[in-house]
Symmetry: C2
Subunit: 204 residues, 2 copies
């Protein structure tokens, strides 16, 4: 059975082995004739998705104890991948959630790295930079490029560390690998959200 996580920017499809990332349009073109179970946060697409006979919305199976009603279904699925830990999805937005023994403890959201960079660029052309992946975090920045890269990464890192204590970090999402390079005790795995869906389906 194919599983799909339909995000704000892209569709992620898991065949049990690997994850394929596609635009919404392309995913529908390539997969509309295949049996597929999906979750989605793309509300604008819901009517169109319902018309696909082979696709089934399994959102109602994704139940995370103590989660709040409007919490994104993809965050809930990620939080169901492992019973305790800190869960980070670094995509269009960066979501950071804490779960203990299967019970949701709370969490928060930051813009995704591309959204951060666009926010700076929209403020002024002088703030249009390319993110510095080799940034050093142990000293105060002395250039605009590093001052922006540092603002993004150091603020995320400090916020993660504040709530991490001895928890393991489970990271997924398009910028997850990049972000994990700046964090300690972190595992990057792009299949996590699908492990969470599978765990939820087992219980349901």
């Amino acid at each position: 059975m194919l599983l799909a996580d339909i995000g704000n920017s892209r569709v992620h499809i898991y065949n049990g082995d690997e994850v394929t990332h596609l635009s919404h349009q392309r995913a529908i073109e390539l997969y509309s004739h295949k049996q597929l179970h999906y979750i989605t946060v793309k509300h604008q697409l819901k009517d169109r998705l319902k018309k696909l006979d082979n696709w089934r919305d399994i959102s109602d199976k994704i139940i995370l104890k103590n989660a709040y009603d409007t919490m994104g279904i993809d965050r809930k699925a990620l939080c169901l991948s492992v019973s305790s830990g800190m869960f980070i999805s670094a995509g269009s937005a960066i979501t950071i959630d804490v779960v203990e023994n299967g019970v949701y403890q709370g969490g928060f959201l930051l813009p995704g790295i591309q959204a951060y960079l666009k926010a700076y660029m929209d403020i002024s052309p002088a703030l249009q930079i390319e993110f510095n992946p080799n940034l050093l975090l142990d000293k105060l920045p002395q250039t605009t490029r590093d001052g922006i890269s540092y603002g993004i990464i150091a603020s995320i890192k400090l916020l993660v560390e504040k709530h991490q204590s001895n928890k393991k970090l489970y990271i997924s999402g398009g910028d997850g690998l990049l972000l994990s390079s700046f964090l300690d005790n972190a595992v990057y795995d792009e299949t996590l959200i699908f492990q969470g869906i599978k765990n939820a389906l087992k219980k349901g």
Copy 2:
């Protein structure tokens, strides 16, 4: 003598007593016939400003030791307001800079609070919220609104505290008062940047 700080979004004019905030267009309409010294980060306006006979660009007087070349002139002026401290401008962008005995130590940039909110909103309509000014920072958020408000404020606060040690915070900018309510050992004063300009002019 009137002093003006021409920012990316607005013009701030100081008459030695209070600060008036205007759109670029309105500031030029109301003040083009008055003697005024200005600094500007709005590069797109530079040619137009040069044509105003009564307005004088005093950027070359704003000299901060050890500052880097492309650092915004408004950040430099703010850093010249007091000889040692941590300086925060919370406007279109949030800039955070450290100065010790008049020597720049480095700094970093974050999106302004409105830029953050727009970044979330651009990611998804589900992330369009009104900032919660009464947010409590001592527990993990349990709603989208608080998760976003917390992401913004807690990340800024932690980054400030990491570099603050026993330094006093000097805060200006349109969201400065709001931001200062979440920070310790902070003074909000919208005239700081003009104190910095006056200090620079005294030296020059």
